[in-house]
């Protein structure tokens, strides 16, 4: 998951390196570091914003470690899902247990259906639905869509997936 953290450092040499070291110790992959040296907090410390990717279970011990080192952790924002995707389904979506179709994704733990739009023009006609899926990463999004693919085959639904190429 992606974590964005506001921390505060003492105005002394070597503080930034000391604060970043534990992040890499906890297998964090740094995305960005913004060091506001010109801004001072009322406490006389320097605010720094760091963004990194790591596994969820690393976050809490990392915070403890930082605090033990005298680094103030002011705000932590965890963003679990980094990848977003859309698919469209056609067929008897509701009568083939829509809840079960959604559960296929939600049960994975790495992806969730976050939005569903359903269009049912008349009782005997095929319904159409768009699913927005959030996943923790690219691979997980692909895995979630391929799970949905097997469900679609089983329930005789047409699954319209996004194209592979990423030219733009």
């Amino acid at each position: 998951m992606r974590v964005s953290m506001d921390i505060e450092l003492q105005d002394a040499p070597g503080q930034l390196v000391q604060a970043l070291k534990p992040i890499s110790e906890f297998r964090g992959n740094l995305v960005s570091v913004v060091h506001h040296h010109e801004k001072r907090t009322p406490r006389g410390t320097i605010p720094v914003q760091v963004v990194f990717e790591t596994d969820a279970f690393n976050v809490s011990p990392l915070i403890t470690k930082l605090e033990n080192l005298g680094v103030g952790v002011i705000r932590v924002n965890e963003e679990k899902f980094l990848e977003k995707g859309t698919v469209v389904l056609i067929g008897h979506i509701v009568h083939t247990d829509l809840e079960d179709t959604i559960d296929t994704i939600d049960k994975t733990g790495y992806a969730e259906v976050v939005e569903l739009h359903l269009s049912m023009p008349s009782i005997n006609k095929s319904s159409s639905a768009s699913f927005r899926i959030d996943a923790v990463g690219k691979k997980e999004l692909k895995d979630a869509i391929s799970l949905l693919r097997s469900v679609a085959i089983k329930k005789d639904l047409v699954l319209i997936e996004p194209i592979e190429s990423e030219i733009l």
């Binding site: 859309t86 698919v87 469209v88 056609i90 067929g91 739009h117 269009s119 023009p121 006609k125 095929s126 319904s127 159409s128 639905a129 768009s130 927005r132 047409v158 319209i160 997936e161 996004p162 194209i163 592979e164 190429s165 030219i167 733009l168």
Partner: protein, 331 residues
């Protein structure tokens, strides 16, 4: 000046297009040092032969007025076997189940050491390996640009212009009929049946549209690309195919709300060959409308290369056939 004796076997829309193009480009071909002399033309019932070269304008007129090309009762297959010539232009209709007369014609041509230039997908989708092995054993050229993308250059693009590149994948729209129907469904918020009807009225879709709308045509083209570009050994059965007949206007609108159009996309790489309706981001190079075809090639050196063009049509297909004939004699 090099004189090339050719036959046109199959004189429907494509065969006639070839005759028209050869007439129109006679001078340009001569300036390249090529004198292409058509010594025989066969349609499904009749044929005409003249070893001094046929008057193609006359053959086209007769086909238009009487519905046949001549009085000779000799089949295309017999012409390939018995008439002395260099290149067989094979433009009989595609038969995806048996390969049809096209397959027999091509086999005979190679046995008689004649080059083959074709627009006929059936034999290639079924027997590519056998045909290309026989062609190289006989020392014959086997060219089929028209089968993969119509007028859109793909095979020659990869072989000549992109040579040295490794093609990683090809994906695109390989059927203009499907693209037309999907484009119009989206524009008019209309049903598949309604827009199929419109396409049929305009002559864009056949009376029996199965071959196009169920993705069979696109699948044949992917098989040809898989074999010819990726060196795979696959046939039609190896393609996962989903057509467009179950697409609803509501699905297209939901896609649009999310920033996508729906296109029948063919995709080939070393792992999979698939034809299916897919979501293409609006504004993406693959999101072309109308009857256009498009192909995006991912290459290791040049990165993505995209070609857009007409996938069908009499003169357009003949353009690919002409470029194939020229390429044989330029080599």
């Amino acid at each position: 000046m090099k004189t090339i004796k050719a036959s046109i076997i199959g004189f429907g829309s494509v065969g006639q297009g070839v005759a028209k193009v050869l007439l129109r480009k006679k001078e340009e071909l001569r300036s390249m040092g090529l004198d292409i002399k058509v010594v025989a033309v066969a349609d499904s019932k009749t044929s005409v032969i003249d070893m001094n070269g046929l008057d193609l304008a006359h053959v086209l007129e007769r086909k238009a007025s009487e519905g046949n090309v001549g009085d000779a009762n000799i089949t295309g297959h017999d012409i390939i076997r018995d008439v002395d010539h260099d290149v067989v232009i094979e433009t009989t209709p595609t038969n995806i189940n048996t390969g049809g007369v096209g397959l027999q014609n091509m086999l005979m041509a190679f046995n008689k050491k004649r080059h083959v230039v074709t627009s006929n997908k059936g034999p290639l989708a079924l027997k590519y390996k056998d045909l290309s092995a026989l062609a190289s054993k006989s020392g014959c050229a086997f060219r089929f640009e028209a089968t993969a993308g119509g007028a859109m250059p793909l095979l020659n693009l990869v072989r000549d212009t992109l040579s040295g590149n490794d093609v990683i994948s090809i994906e695109g729209i390989f059927n203009g009929t499907c693209n037309y129907i999907l484009t119009r469904m989206m524009e008019e918020h209309a049903t598949y049946e309604l827009m199929l009807g419109e396409a049929q009225e305009l002559g864009i879709a056949e009376k029996d549209p199965t071959y196009d709308v169920e993705g069979i045509d696109s699948a044949c083209k992917l098989v040809i690309l898989a074999n010819a570009v990726f060196g795979m050994d696959v046939a039609y059965e190896d393609v996962h195919v989903t057509g467009i007949s179950r697409i609803t206007p509501e699905a297209l609108m939901l896609a649009e709300t999310n920033g996508y159009v729906v296109k029948l996309i063919g995709e080939v790489n070393r792992q999979r060959i698939q034809v299916a309706p897919r979501l293409v981001p609006i504004g993406h190079p693959l999101a072309v409308g109308g009857t256009l075809n498009v192909a995006s090639l991912q290459t290791d050196l040049a990165g993505p290369v995209i070609v857009v063009g007409r996938g069908a049509g009499s003169i357009e297909t003949a353009s690919a056939i002409l470029s194939d004939i020229i390429s044989i004699y330029k080599d």
